[in-house]
């Protein structure tokens, strides 16, 4: 019996085999870790969809369908605070990545429930809009693509550190690449002699809300956008955690070692449509990366019972988290102005040396 490398929990008996996808493989133990994280993410998201429908939240958006890629990426992030660690400029479909980093489920649920204990935003932001400074997670904004304009900045600071392998990872959808900020990211990451270590990720789910990607993209692959700037890239089946793992590894390695950018495009699914605004109904035409991965694991001899147990455990964990979160305090009226300004000093700011206190008086 080994224990889960991430959580220390006891896990199933480990079969000392490699699981293959084409020529690439991962140890089964690792596959089970990945699977467990994918399932936890899924169960959590599905529960949050339910919350949005039962009035325990106003809006849902998230990452069901992107678990394979997000877990593969999350597990390879060097987590910590400051430029020696990796920076994460996420968008709103990265809950599985956050769980892979080690975020407890309840952190997401709290944001969904808009509690005062929501550490990401004090009940202010939509679910999936993470912010976690101790892990270099930059606040997610709903404004599409602005994260791509910021990413070269954190990467520049990382590049300047001697002997550092910290890199910046920026993620967004394929439709968003039409915004100028995406081009800015390519330009600012490749200034001659001042290239910076950014892993530029585009998760391509084939849609921007209702608009099919094929109707607005003339590029064969979005990753071709890197060609003029000499940014190497790769398109990966993001629904396959084994291939995703290695593509991410190559991309991160490139950035860590060469201190220059790499572009990764991951084809992923969108299992519940765009968001609760479009109904958050299960879309059966989309491939489910968990079902697919489970078929592979079953083929490798993993017990159906083990897989089912993961789902059950996740449900239990998520239900407990929901129950707990719903009993936590809510933000109060006086929170409206809180955290508008970071504390300065009276010699520097005579009006707001501490926080915002309403119009000057």
């Amino acid at each position: 019996m080994n224990s889960d490398p991430l959580t220390g929990d006891d896990a199933v008996a480990i079969l000392p085999t490699l699981v293959y996808s084409g020529r690439e493989s991962l140890p089964l133990e690792q596959c089970l870790t990945i699977h467990r994280l994918m399932v936890r993410a899924r169960v959590m998201e599905e529960r949050m969809i339910k919350m949005s429908k039962s009035g325990l939240g106003h809006f849902w958006i998230g990452g069901p369908g992107e678990e394979a890629f997000n877990v593969a990426l999350g597990l390879q992030i060097r987590r910590g605070q400051g430029p020696r660690y990796d920076y994460l400029h996420l968008h709103y479909r990265n809950s599985a990545l956050m769980l892979a980093l080690g975020m407890p489920v309840i952190e997401s649920i709290r944001q969904m429930a808009m509690t005062a204990t929501d550490s990401h935003s004090l009940g202010r932001n939509f679910v999936g809009h993470f912010c976690k400074r101790e892990w270099n997670v930059i606040p997610v904004t709903s404004v599409i693509e602005v994260q791509y304009a910021m990413a070269p900045g954190t990467a520049l600071m990382q590049k300047r550190l001697p002997d550092s392998e910290g890199v910046t990872v920026v993620l967004g959808g394929e439709a968003g690449t039409a915004e100028g900020d995406f081009a800015s990211c390519l330009i600012w990451s490749t200034l001659p002699g001042r290239e910076v270590p950014v892993l530029i990720v585009v998760t391509n789910n084939g849609y921007g809300i209702s608009t099919p990607a094929c109707s607005v993209h003339s590029e064969r692959h979005v990753v071709d956008r890197g060609i003029p700037f000499g940014v190497p890239g790769e398109v990966v089946d993001g629904n396959d955690p084994i291939r995703a793992w290695h593509a991410v590894e190559r991309g991160l390695m490139h950035c860590r070692a060469t201190r220059t950018p790499f572009f990764l495009e991951a084809n992923v699914s969108r299992l519940f449509g765009h968001s609760s605004s479009s109904g958050a109904l299960r879309d059966r035409t989309q491939e489910d990366p968990i079902e697919r991965f489970e078929r592979i694991l079953l083929d490798e001899g993993v017990d159906r019972g083990h897989l089912d147990q993961m789902h059950e455990d996740a449900h239990t964990e998520v239900e407990q988290a929901v129950e707990q979160a719903l009993n936590e305090p809510m933000p109060r009226p006086e929170d409206v102005e809180r955290y508008t300004y970071a504390a300065s000093r009276p010699e520097i700011d005579a009006v707001y040396p501490d926080d915002y206190t309403g119009l000057p008086n």
Partner: protein, 353 residues
Amino acid sequence: MATLVQAVRLALHYGEEHLGVTDVFGEDVGPPLGGVFTATQGLRTAWNSPLDERGIIGMAMGIAYAGGRPVAEIQFCDYGFNVIDLLKVAGNQYWAGAGQYPLPMVVMTPSGSGIRGSLYHSHSFESWASRLPGWKIVMPSNALDAYGLMLSAIEDPNPVLVLLPKALLRVRGEQRLPGEPDDENELKERIDAPVGEARTTWQPRWPKMEPYFVPIGKASTVREGDACTVISYGRTLPLAVQAADELATELGNRAEVIDLRSIFPYDWKCISQSVSKTGRLLIVNEDTEVTNFGEHLLRRVIEHHFYDLLVRPRLLAGKHVPGIGLNQVYEQNTVPQLRHIKQAMSEVILEQA
């Protein structure tokens, strides 16, 4: 009766058929969705654009230069802030070119709070927009006005920005649009796209709409009174009306409530006459309170009616904070709600002159 968003759709249809509209476009504006608020379902000239607001405004300008009549949508006004420069340019091209190129383009965008939109779907835009010389800016608060102002926006040979109050899009009007069928279910059946599979083959069966123009720059006095003047528009307008009605019952004092409808140009005559009559003024909107369009109106009133005012005039607006949080405690305490409006109104009415 048609909802506000149905009225917009009917106006765009009328625009396509009779006023030369060549393109209705923006993110998710075309089939299958027809706009995140359904404003553009079934329209003949509607198409989906790339996710690029700068491209959208640029494209609209290009179409207008070359003789088209575009109506472009910014999906939420919250996403129009990366294109203020192009909006400024659109507003100055006629002036810059000494009158050579009029730019007949319409931009429509949902504005304001009230849909639990959190930080990035709750912005107001009218104060920003009012700083764009060369633009005309309208903001209807009911379906009929939305229909009439949209037609005027299309007809006007200048860039016109139509701000649609997010919170009121699904509110039914109290007056029939000219041409609208009597039965609202019939309307729905004819022009609302069905959900699911049926949508792919669906075609709208448009009622025969008639022209109806609400002139830009014309306010509407929705309650007459002499206890005070209340100027509002958009989401806060119906709340102001409700507050006025409640106070009329409770205090017996009737406030005059003006639906400004046009942000620029605004109906100065209407404002001026009302303030001259009442000597008391409350301006209500939900945009942030520093450098707020209501402050401009207040300044104009001070400029012309300082000595006519019986008591201190007031502005009730949104707080100067970085955003509106999702938990409703934020929205309730950030932008004016019925209770705030009623409170402010009764203060203006009751203050000893």
